[in-house]
Amino acid sequence: MSALFVAIFAPVLASFAVLLLRRHAGIIAVAGAGVAAVASAVLLAQAFSGAAATELILPGLPTYPLRLEASALTSALSMMVATVALFVLIFAVGYMKKDPEKPRFFATMLMFIAAMQMLVLSADWILLLAAWELIGVSSYLLIGFWHGKSGVAGSAMRAFIYTRSADLGLYIAAFLLIGVAGTSDISTSLATSGTAATLAGLLLLVAAMGKSAQVPLNDWLQRAMAGPTPVSALLHSATLVAAGAILLIRVAPMLPPSTLLVVGLVGGVTTVVTGLIALGEKDLKRLLAASTSSQYGLMLLAIGVGAPIVALLHLITHAAIKSGLFMGAGVFQHARGSTLMDDVAGAGRAHKRVFAGFVLAALALAGIPPLAGFFSKDAIIAATLYAPAGAGLLPLALAGTVLTGAYMARAMAQLWRGKGEAAAPSQALRWMGIGMAGPVVLAIILGAGFPALERLLGAEVATSALAAAMGLGAAGLGLVLGWFLPPAHLLGALLPWAQNGFAIAGGMDGLVARPVLALATALNRFETWLFNAVIKLGHASLRLGRASRISDEAGIDRAIFSFARRTVASGERARKLQSGLIHRQLAITIIATGILAAALFAAPLFY
C-alpha cells in the first residue's frame, strides 16, 4: 500500500468512521488527517530523495486508466493540503465543541480534504474532473453547514452555482485536450500547442477564475463566509479556492504567451479590485475573504508573467498565513459572537496571544521580512520586473501589495483599538490555539524552506534587491496608511462602491444569476406546460377508455348475450317436439319423409 493511497484514503476512512461511530468525531478526524499528513510527508521525502515519482493506477475507462502521481510538484501540494487540513481540524475540535452536528461537520471536512488530495495528486484529467466536482459539492455542504440559519442555504447555493457555471470551462477544456492529445494523461496532454492550447488555456482560466474567485466571479467567496470558520480557514487556504490556481500552475507550461497575458491581467485586476473591496469591508471574515481573492490574483499574475513556481510558493505561503488568519478571526468570533468590524473592536486586547499570532500572520501576508510572505511576494515582484509583459503588470502587483498592507493594518488596528477585557481560558480555546499556532509558525519559518523547494522543483527563482526594496516599501506604505487612516479617507469616493463589491451591471448576479434564474423560470413554465399537456393527454385517454367500455358493454356484450338468449329460447321451443312417445316420433319421421318425397317428386315440375 503506497503512501499515495494512504494520503487519499486515510481521510475517507476517518470520515466513514466518524459517520458510523458518531462520537469522538474530532479525535478521529484529527487522527485521519494526521495519518494523511504523514503519508504526504513520506511522498515529499521520496521526492526530495530523488526517487522516481510514485504512481498509482486505478481502473478507469478502458483506454483511459485513472492515474495518481506524486511528482515533486504534486507531493509538495499534497503536503501543503495535509498540513493545513491537520491544523484546521485541530482548531475545529475547539471551535465546534458545542455543536450538536459535529459528526456531520467532521465527516464532510474529511471528505473535502480527501477530494482535495485526489485533486492535487491526480495525473489524469478524468480523475481531476471527478475531484473538482467532489470539492465543489463538499464545499457546498460545508458552506451550507448551518443551513437552518436564514441566508446560509442561499450562500451555499450561490457558491455552488457560480463555481459550477465556471466549471463548464474546465469540462470543455479537459475534453478538448483529451481529444487533441488522444490521452487523458495531464503531463502528456500539455504538449498540445497552437489554437487548441490557446482555447483550452482560456477555458481553464475561466474555471480557475470561478474557483479562485477572480474578478468578475469574486462575489461568491465573500458570501461563503456563512459557513463555520474552520471551513473558511480550509476553503480559503489550501483547498477549494486553491484548486483554481493549482490547475493553472499545472497547465502553465502549455499556455501560449497571449493566454498568459490574459491570465496575468485577470490576476492583476483582481488583486487591485478585491484589495479595494477588502479595505472597505465592514466584516472581518469578509475582509479576509476579499483578501484571499486578492492574493490569488497575485498568484495568477505570477503565472501570467511566466513564473508558475513563484505562484506555487505564494500559494503555499498564503495557505499557511490565511488559515492562521481565519483561525484567529474564528477565536475573536467565538469570543464576540460576531465578525462585524465594530463588534470585534478590541478583541485583540482580550486574547493577546491569539492577537500576536494574528499580527504575525498579517505581517507575513503584507510581506515583512523575515516572515515567509516576504519571500514569495518579493519573488512575484521580481518575476514581474524581469518579465517581458511585466511593465503593465508591475504597477498592479505593487498596488496589490500596498492594498494588502493597508487592509491587514486596518484589521489589526480594529482588533487592537477599543476596549477588551481578558477572557478566561477554556479548553475550546486551547484546541483553537494549538490549531492556530501551527500555521502561524509555518508562516514565520516557511521562507527558510524555499531554496530547497525551488531546487526540488528545478526552477530558478529570480530575486533582486530592487524588487525586495519595492515590495518592502509598498508593504510598509500600506501598513502605515492602513493603521493610521480610516478607509473612508483612503478610498474617498470609491468607498460605497467598494463596499458594494464593485457590482458592475448588478455584479455577478446580473451576469450569471439572473440569466440562470430566467432560464429556470422559462424551464419551469415549460415544465408546467408539459405537465398540463400530460394531464390533458391522461384525461383524453380516460375518456377514450370510458367510451370503449360503454361500446363494449352496450355493443359487443349485448349482441353476444342476445345471441346466447335466442339460442336458449329456440332450444326451449325445440324441446316441445320431443314427446318421448315412440310412435309420435315415428309419425313425425314418416310425415317428414312424405314431405321430402313430395318435394322430390315436385322438384322436376319447376325446372
Binding site: 325445440a574 324441446r575 316441445k576 317436439l577 320431443q578 314427446s579 318421448g580 312417445l581 315412440i582 310412435h583 315415428l586 309419425a587 314418416i590
Partner: protein, 103 residues
C-alpha cells in the same frame, strides 16, 4: 318398362304401406319393430326388383342388399335387447307408458 317390374314395385309398395301402418298403429314395442322390418323388407323388394329388371349385370346391388340385411339383423338384436331390458325393469313393453325420453 316391363310388367314384372311394376308388379314387384307394387308388391313393395303394399309391403311398405303395411309396415308403416303397423309401426304407427301398434303400441307394443315388438309389434312396432315388426312394422319396421316390413318397411325394410319393402325396400329390399324394390332394390331386388330394380336390379333384376334394370341392371341384372351389376353385382354391386347384391352387395348392397346383403349390407341392408345385416343392418336389419343388427337392428333387430338391438331392438329386442331394449325390449327385454324394458320388460325386465318395467314388466311391460307397452310404448304408451314409455315417456322417459321426453325432452
Amino acid at each position: 318398362m316391363s310388367m314384372e317390374l311394376i308388379v314387384a314395385l307394387s308388391m313393395g309398395a303394399a309391403l311398405f304401406g303395411t309396415g308403416v301402418y303397423g309401426a304407427l298403429s301398434q303400441t307394443n314395442l315388438v309389434m312396432i319393430m315388426m312394422g319396421i322390418e316390413l318397411i325394410l323388407a319393402a325396400a329390399l323388394v324394390n332394390l331386388v326388383a330394380f336390379w333384376r329388371y334394370l341392371h341384372p349385370d351389376a353385382m354391386e346391388a347384391q352387395m348392397f342388399l346383403l349390407i341392408v340385411m345385416t343392418v336389419m339383423a343388427v337392428e333387430m338384436a338391438v331392438g329386442f335387447g331394449v325390449a327385454i331390458a324394458r320388460f325386465r325393469s318395467r314388466g311391460s313393453v307397452e310404448m304408451e307408458e314409455a315417456q322417459e325420453l321426453k325432452g
